[in-house]
């Protein structure tokens, strides 16, 4: 009982000095809780119906990132706590307390810290989720109902995940104290000052980090079919480990080399800030790595959000390229449909063409599926209907041994190896040299059949040995007649051997793809959480550091260095502190967005640049704030003389 009381008094009296630690932990819990809350919210239930595999993969990746993050952060935070407390509680030894009792005191005290952080994290997390719900409702323009209720399961999951890891590190601290000597406890606060690490150790870490990171990038972008999920998970784990090794090895090594190069070091304030950076890097590399990983997550989340929004717009445009499309083995289909449409609505554009249907068993391709038709189109026909619909067509005519595959837009594809297998048609093998995503044949291109464009000469050659299918497409000016027109067209739909006539249409008012906007909003939410978390962690860390620097800057002021010189040195040091995670993040995020682009079959470079710039702006703001606060703490008139 006495120990609990003493621990509580310690916690109460030192609360101010532990505030940054409590807040950092609370923020981590807030992030974790919000993510759990999203998983268990209705938004994901809606998405889950659409594509469970995709959702599972996203959850797996994000959970791995967050759990790794939580693990390393708790490791770091409890270490900081232990080092701080060791010296103080070491004094209890002189008061006759045993190591075991001191360990128990630490355990109770750290439990207070953990409990406070957990409560704060969940409470603020719940408030933040509600706030986000309001913001999202206002900005995302989603018609599907996305609810962000507070999930009890999310609270349970967050508490269990946090407490189990926290308890592990608390017990580790307890073990450490019970096995520490008095001298060790009293000198604990000084241990971190020994900052020079042997270059060989750094070199090994750097080499290992580079290999692990490169492997991570490789797996992220490795094309695959069924192993894409495994590759993505592997990439996430490797990149996390690689980033930690990079900040623990390569970056300190580079700075130590810079410090050894006196021609570089003895210019302006470099002598001061480069050495300070080495010192801080030794103490803070885990924080920098963590911020970097969160930065990668934020760029990837934002890029995914932008890409999803963009893909949503494109998919809607793709699906609604034509209002009605017909395919039939009856040559008069155009005339019949035209008659049925007469007077219902003006036509914005229309087109007609003839497709060849070679024997499906002869068509052996990656996409062969006996349930689907495989149709060949002539190059000139596609060029013509593109012109009629006002769609750009910038492809040269395929060679006689080439085909272009008319594909469609997908949200994500697990097949990312870009090699298209050759297609065998009527005994001749063709190379697939283009995969076209433009909706020349609209929704039909997505839903009905596999369409290949062949050269006009090949088309004419194959015409004799193929069945003919007549296609006609209409884009109506007045969408309101859709229902009436569809009912009229139902009469001509037939699926007999003599008469195969199919209608392909999509309700212009359908909200089939609306759920993608939810993904977009969730990505923006993830981006906000990650970027705010990384910025806050960095800011709090530097704010905390500024108090540790008081003595050092008092010496510098005593030595006569001007405030201007010291301000410039601080600015350099802090810009470096923010720049290093940003640079590593920029490189790593490039590969993660590249991988995303492969899965979306799109070039996301512009989106990557925009997302990176957004993160840069946020980092610049946090950096400016840190510099101002740091300078005020150390250089203001009120700072200790």
């Amino acid at each position: 009982m006495k120990i609990v009381r003493l621990a509580f008094l310690n916690f109460k009296n030192s609360f101010k000095s532990y505030l940054s630690l409590v807040l950092s932990l609370a923020f981590t819990i807030l992030v974790f809780f919000n993510f759990q809350n999203i998983i268990h919210s209705d938004a994901f239930a809606i998405l889950g119906q659409r594509n469970k595999d995709y959702i599972d993969m996203l959850i797996q990746i994000c959970l791995t990132v967050l759990l790794c993050f939580l693990f390393f952060f708790l490791w770091y935070a409890t270490n900081v706590f232990l080092t701080r407390r060791k010296r103080e509680i070491g004094i209890y030894i002189f008061m006759g307390m045993s190591n075991r009792k001191i360990g128990s005191l630490y355990l109770v005290e750290i439990s207070f810290v953990g409990a406070t952080a957990l409560i704060m994290g969940i409470v603020f997390g719940a408030l933040f989720a509600g706030l986000f719900q309001m913001i999202m409702g206002a900005v995302s323009d989603i018609t599907v109902d996305v609810r962000f209720g507070i999930s009890i399961k999310a609270i349970k999951m967050t508490s269990v995940s946090f407490l189990s890891m926290y308890l592990f590190f608390a017990l580790k601290g307890f073990w450490n104290i019970t096995h520490s000597s008095v001298l060790n406890m009293i000198s604990a606060a000084k241990q971190n000052e020994y900052l020079h690490v042997k270059p060989v150790v750094l070199l090994l870490k750097a080499a290992l980090g580079a290999i692990v990171l490169a492997s991570g990038y490789y797996y992220a972008n490795k094309g695959g079919r069924n192993d894409i999920l495994t590759n993505a998970l592997l990439a996430v784990v490797l990149v996390i480990i690689g980033v930690y090794l990079l900040f623990g090895g390569l970056i300190p090594l580079v700075f130590q080399m810079l410090a050894a190069c006196k021609g570089f070091l003895y210019r302006g304030q470099r002598c001061l800030w480069v050495n300070q950076t080495i010192f801080r890097m030794r103490k803070n590399y885990r924080t920098y790595a963590m911020v970097c990983i969160m930065g990668i997550c934020s760029v990837t989340a934002l890029a995914t959000g932008f890409a999803m929004r963009d893909r949503y717009d494109n998919m809607v445009a793709f699906n609604h390229q034509y209002t009605f499309q017909f395919i039939s083995n009856q040559s008069n289909i155009e005339k019949t449909t035209q008659t049925l449409l007469d007077g219902k609505s003006p036509i914005t554009y229309q087109s007609a063409l003839c497709a060849l249907s070679p024997d499906s068993e002869q068509l052996l391709s990656t996409y062969s599926d006996v349930r689907q038709m495989h149709l060949l189109l002539s190059y000139s026909d596609i060029q013509r209907i593109a012109q009629e619909a006002g769609v750009t067509f910038a492809f040269a005519e395929p060679a006689d041994d080439e085909v272009y595959y008319l594909s469609h837009l997908v949200l994500l594809s697990f097949i990312t190896n870009g090699e298209a297998e050759p297609v065998t048609i009527a005994g001749k093998t063709y190379r697939q040299t283009q995969r076209i995503m433009t909706p020349y044949l609209g929704y039909m291109q997505k839903e009905l059949a596999c369409f290949y464009i062949v050269s006009d000469r090949e088309y004419e050659r194959l015409k004799a040995q193929s069945g003919l299918y007549y296609i006609c497409n209409y884009k109506l000016a007045d969408d309101s007649v859709f229902g009436e027109a569809r009912a009229a067209f139902d009469a001509i739909v037939s699926n007999t051997d003599e008469n195969y006539t199919a209608r392909v249409s999509i309700d212009p008012f359908s909200n089939e793809e609306e759920w993608i906007k939810a993904v977009y909003s969730l990505c923006i939410f993830m981006f906000l959480v990650f970027i705010v978390a990384s910025g806050c962690i960095m800011f709090m860390k530097l704010y905390n550091d500024s108090f540790e620097e008081t003595e050092r800057y008092t010496v510098l002021k005593k030595l006569g260095f001007s405030t201007r010189t010291l301000s410039a040195s601080i600015a350099h040091e802090l810009v470096t502190a923010y720049l290093l995670p940003f640079v590593v993040m920029t490189v790593s995020a490039y590969f993660s967005v590249l991988a995303l682009g492969k899965m979306m079959r799109a070039d996301l470079f512009v989106i990557y640049v925009v997302s990176t710039v957004v993160v840069l702006i946020v980092f610049v703001l946090f950096c400016a704030l840190s510099i101002v606060v740091y300078q005020r703490t150390l250089l203001s008139a009120r700072a200790k003389q």
């Binding site: 020994y194 410090a259 003895y266 302006g268 300070q276 010496v555 006569g560």
Partner: protein
């Protein structure tokens, strides 16, 4: 003796406290330091030694009087000019070394000159020369925590000398050293003074330490009571300081 006045103090008065409860710590000090001087200021606790040093090193401001440092009145110049003056004209040696633990001894020594914008080549050359003078070549790559007290203080002297200041203010430079290290340091200070590299003003309570100076001023109750000159024999000078200390009385610790 060189006739160039490095420091000139006239009627220096320093008071602390509010109007009705003022304490006068310095009561009209007059002191002139010429280039090449090595002066020790001694006095019992509370005599005003540290206040005098703080005012001379521009950390504190006098209540009244004039303090000329290299021809500039430090009481009348702007803060920016004061910072420049401190940076260019003054070197500091503190009792607790005040080396930065984040950098090697070499970088600690080089720091003032590097920050002053000197060419890296010159900074490196001067650092090595000074380190050689003070027997620290082997320790240049080491961090302060790897050095002995004597090595740290010699490093601090090198740092104070690197910008070739007009004067060095040393505040109890041997206070944290053992007698052997203290003696080594004093010999180094005397060496740089005699070679014309430095004018030194040292505040100390230790008569042995003071005996390495050329002149000792005894400060008591805010005024300079007397000045004694070393002459040619340091041991005899030391005895005279002890006698004077005894005659004045007070706590010199």
């Amino acid at each position: 003796m060189n006739d160039k006045k490095v420091v000139e103090i006239k009627n220096l008065i320093k008071r602390y406290g509010a109007r009705d409860f003022q304490t006068t710590v310095l009561k009209g000090i007059d002191l002139t330091i010429y280039k090449g001087d090595f002066i020790a200021i001694m006095g019992p606790s509370g005599s005003g030694k540290t206040t005098l040093l703080n005012i001379l090193s521009t950390i504190d401001k006098p209540t009244q009087g004039m303090v000329m440092l290299d021809g500039q009145d430090v009481t009348r110049i702007s803060n920016k000019a004061l910072a420049n003056l401190r940076k260019d004209k003054i070197g500091f040696i503190f009792q607790d070394y005040n080396l930065l633990d984040t950098m090697t001894l070499q970088d600690n020594i080089a720091l003032p000159l590097a920050l002053d914008g000197a060419a890296p080549k010159d900074v490196l050359a001067r650092t090595k020369t000074l380190a050689a003078t003070f027997g620290l070549e082997e320790q240049l790559r080491q961090y302060p925590y790897q050095l002995s007290g004597g090595q740290k203080q010699r490093g601090a002297v090198c740092r104070a000398l690197i910008t070739k200041p007009e004067i060095i203010f040393a505040d109890e430079p041997t206070g944290a050293l053992d007698s052997k290290s203290g003696k080594d340091l004093l010999q180094c200070l005397r060496k740089v003074n005699e070679s014309g590299q430095a004018t030194i003003l040292m505040v100390t309570h230790d008569p042995y330490c003071a005996s390495y100076a050329k002149d000792v001023y005894l400060l008591s109750d805010g005024t300079i009571k007397c000045r004694i000159n070393r002459g040619n024999d340091r041991k005899e000078f030391y005895n005279r300081i002890i006698d004077l200390q005894t005659s004045i009385g007070g706590d010199f610790a």
